[in-house]
């Protein structure tokens, strides 16, 4: 019934459009079905992943073979190198990790998993994607405008980002800020939908602790995002004014303060890493319980740990600024809070490992991805501890050690987690089973090269190699052949990994065209999305068949039952609820 006031405008505008009836491709853009919007987010994200991956290919080629003519790109100038790195980071985080994990799977799964026929505000949902689509166009345009794309790192520290005489990319940097800002607005709108849908539209009988972990995670992530992005949005406005009107918010020459931006950015930036982490570990929770046929070891523990992580994440931001010129005594406080975060996250990892205990584990492709997530994320997590200890960060800051740390977190999240989710829900989304053999080839040919890319980068980081340098020839200590060989190993591994993605796309195509038809519940899982057809029809269930919930989502291998699973909507013979 109710729609928030801000939506009323959009609502009326769109009613008019209904009459004109935009056709074909455009009609797709105007759909309000949560599943269609999810696909739009997912395919946009996939496309951007390929661009981000291509950028990684170009600059890694330059690093391994400085000065060569990179096939498919050409020579890389120092300015282009910086722009490639900047936009690789920006795209991968804001146009791949966020849209795929949060927006695509959030949109797809939340209504299905809470037993609703759609999001509560379908039109806001559509508006969210449209704004996101616009932001995509803006960021892509920023790459090709006069002067080239923004090249001041994804953290956009002023004064470099604020003043075109310093960054030499007048248009690129403004479009970059505008694009990122629009993207934030899109996710704010989407987040409101996620939160209210979970709060209000759960199926009858579904209590807070009957909600699948992945839904919890996506919603908590949306809340984290919402509460942390505001200051940065304000900062973005200031930055745009600095760039275009010539104000001096961040310019020390006119009484401004460049460090202010760093606080605004990282106050958002650190919670942001958990914003993308949470959906991924939610996905992993669903998959390992399904394929280990086990109840989650401590559902409530997981909820408490994410809330603890979420709260703590607002008090650690300055660990990115230990040596940025903040009061050094502040570093003490932030060292403590940063290390404290290891406690809930360690607990969460232990819960997942414990869930496997006593299971009956089936190593399907999605399960392999989910297990790989845990194995690899642990590396990313523990290397964060080196950086959190301020004394060690003096040395590690802005070296490849940091870089390897966060690729060992981001890659498991944005790539491994995404493939886990994609292969697990593929039967539901497209109604076909995927090819397991191809899936496993793709898995191993992605995971093994991944480690061969980033383990050498850890070593380089410990050797003092720092980030965002297009050619190490100017630094004799970094240009030694031994280091250069490491760079070549990393780059060659990347080439292997990129080639392996062809298997993935071939598998998608083949399964989609000729795959075995997927039954309703191919994995014998409990949550509600498996109780409707694959793919679900418009409205998800027949309106009179919307599910009613009787129990939590992880009742696997319950003693004294014939089946080793117990769908959430199956009435209890004893009629407990």
């Amino acid at each position: 019934m109710a729609e928030p006031a801000v939506a009323v405008m959009a609502h009326h505008e769109e009613e008019d459009h209904g009459h004109h009836g935009p056709g074909g491709w455009l009609k797709y853009l105007w759909s309000t079905d949560h599943k269609v919007i999810a696909m739009q987010y997912m395919f946009t994200g996939m496309f951007m992943a390929l661009i981000g991956g291509f950028m990684a290919y170009v600059f890694r080629m330059q690093l391994a073979f400085p000065g060569i003519n990179v096939p498919g790109f050409g020579m890389v100038s120092p300015g282009e190198y910086n722009a490639l790195v900047t936009n690789h980071g920006t795209l991968m985080i804001f146009w791949v990790a966020m849209p795929v994990l949060l927006a695509a799977f959030g949109n797809y799964l939340i209504p299905l998993m809470v037993g609703a026929d759609d999001m509560v505000f379908p039109k806001i949902n559509r508006l969210s994607f449209q704004i996101f689509f616009l932001s995509t166009i803006v960021i892509l345009a920023s790459l090709v405008v006069e002067g080239g794309g923004f090249a001041g790192a994804w953290t956009a520290y002023p004064p470099l980002s604020a003043n075109e005489t310093y960054n030499l990319t007048p248009l690129g940097s403004t479009l970059w800020v505008v694009g990122v800002g629009l993207e934030f607005v899109a996710f704010l709108l989407g987040g409101i939908n996620f939160i209210t849908t979970l709060m209000n539209s759960r199926a009858p009988g579904m209590r807070a602790f009957d909600v699948p972990i992945v839904v919890w995670m996506i919603v908590v992530a949306s809340i984290l995002f919402m509460l942390s992005v505001g200051p940065l949005l304000a900062g973005a406005i200031m930055l745009i004014f600095d760039q275009t009107l010539g104000t001096g918010f961040f310019d020390p020459a006119t009484g401004g303060d460049p460090i202010l931006w760093q606080h605004l950015f990282w106050f958002f930036g650190h919670p942001e890493v958990y914003v993308v982490l949470l959906p991924a570990i939610g996905v992993v929770a669903e998959i390992i319980t399904t394929f280990a046929r086990k109840k989650l070891f401590g559902y409530r523990i997981v909820i408490f740990t994410i809330v603890a992580t979420g709260v703590l994440s607002f008090f650690v931001w300055a660990h990115h600024q230990f040596i940025a010129g903040i009061d050094p005594r502040m570093a003490n406080i932030f060292t403590i809070t940063t290390l404290l975060i290891s406690v809930p996250i360690a607990e969460m990892c232990f819960v997942y490992i414990a869930t496997l205990y006593g299971g009956s584990i089936r190593l399907t492709t999605p399960m392999l991805w989910a297990l790989a997530f845990i194995a690899e994320f642990l590396i990313g997590g523990v290397t964060g501890i080196f950086l959190g200890a301020a004394g060690a960060d003096i040395y590690f800051h802005d070296t490849y050690f940091v870089l390897a740390h966060f690729h060992y977190t981001f890659f498991p999240i944005a790539i491994i987690g995404t493939f886990a989710a994609f292969t697990y829900w593929f039967p539901k989304m497209f109604g076909k089973m995927m090819d397991e053999r191809l899936g496993k080839w793709h898995f191993w040919l992605t995971i093994i090269p991944f480690n061969f890319i980033f383990i050498p980068l850890f070593v380089l980081g410990m050797g003092g190699q720092h980030r965002r340098i297009y050619n190490y020839a100017h630094f004799p200590e970094l240009a030694i052949p031994w280091f250069q060989n490491m760079r070549i190993v990393a780059t060659v591994s990347l080439l292997v990994m990129l080639a392996a993605q062809l298997i993935f796309f071939y598998n998608c195509y083949k399964s989609w065209r000729r795959g075995r038809k997927a039954p309703m519940n191919p994995w014998k899982a409990n949550s509600l999305e498996w109780t409707t057809q694959s793919p679900p029809p418009h409205g998800n269930w027949r309106p009179d068949e919307l599910p009613v919930v009787y129990r939590g989502p992880y009742e696997y291998s319950v003693p004294d039952r014939d089946d080793d699973y117990w769908p959430q909507n199956e009435p209890d013979s004893r009629g407990s609820r």
């Binding site: 928030p4 801000v6 999001m119 709060m199 209000n200 304000a234 004014f241 001096g248 006119t254 009484g255």
Partner: protein, 189 residues
């Protein structure tokens, strides 16, 4: 056609109201970030007081009064809507919009005056914050008034009366933001 999801209320709170509160939560952190930055700067730059002294407190006070009054009419509109009197609710909403128009009108004069005396957004840090914060707020006033016009149009026909309350909540928020801006930008000299 609205999805069934929209009609559910597992928390017992209407979905629209929930959503508005979440919108406001995100707005609070946006303004919070901006104002916190301003306060930090202000403490570090005592000399900005000279610039702040040039703002016209009387005009600011008048605008505060206008906004508070418009919040009152928004409350009256809500009461009328509760009683099912859409016509009356619409009338109160139009009065609220009138308040918004007055506010923006006064603001335009004020800014025109200041700019024509050479105090522009680039003059110094104080003026940068002054125009940015007040401008962001004015943007919210304009957007709120536009949405309110749509709500009022419907309410006059006794449609979607629950929205009168929602836009009212939003309007109070816009009002409260100004209650913070006014002392920070005008009074603290």
């Amino acid at each position: 056609m609205r999805p069934i999801a929209t009609t559910r209320a597992a928390t017992g709170i209407a979905t629209g109201k929930l959503a508005v509160w979440w919108v406001l939560a995100s707005e609070v952190v946006i303004f919070g970030g901006l104002l916190a930055s301003y306060v930090m700067f202000r403490l570090g730059h005592p000399e900005w007081a000279d610039a702040a002294a040039l703002t016209n407190t009387k005009i600011g006070a008048f605008n505060t009064f206008v906004l508070l009054t418009s919040s009152l009419t928004a409350v009256l509109a809500h009461q009328a809507a509760e009683r099912g009197n859409g016509r009356l609710a619409a009338r109160y909403l139009y009065m609220t919009i009138g308040g918004a128009v007055t506010f923006i009108g006064v603001k335009t004069y004020e800014w025109w005056y200041e700019i024509s005396h050479g105090y522009t957004i680039t003059s110094n840090g104080f003026w940068s914050f002054y125009y940015s914060a007040a401008g962001l707020h004015a943007f919210h006033v304009i957007a709120g008034a536009a949405i309110m016009a749509v709500v009022a149009r419907d309410a006059a026909r006794n449609l979607e009366l629950h929205r009168v309350e929602l836009i009212g909540i939003y309007w109070h928020f816009v009002d409260i933001v100004w209650i913070f801006l006014f002392p920070l930008l005008y009074i603290a000299k």
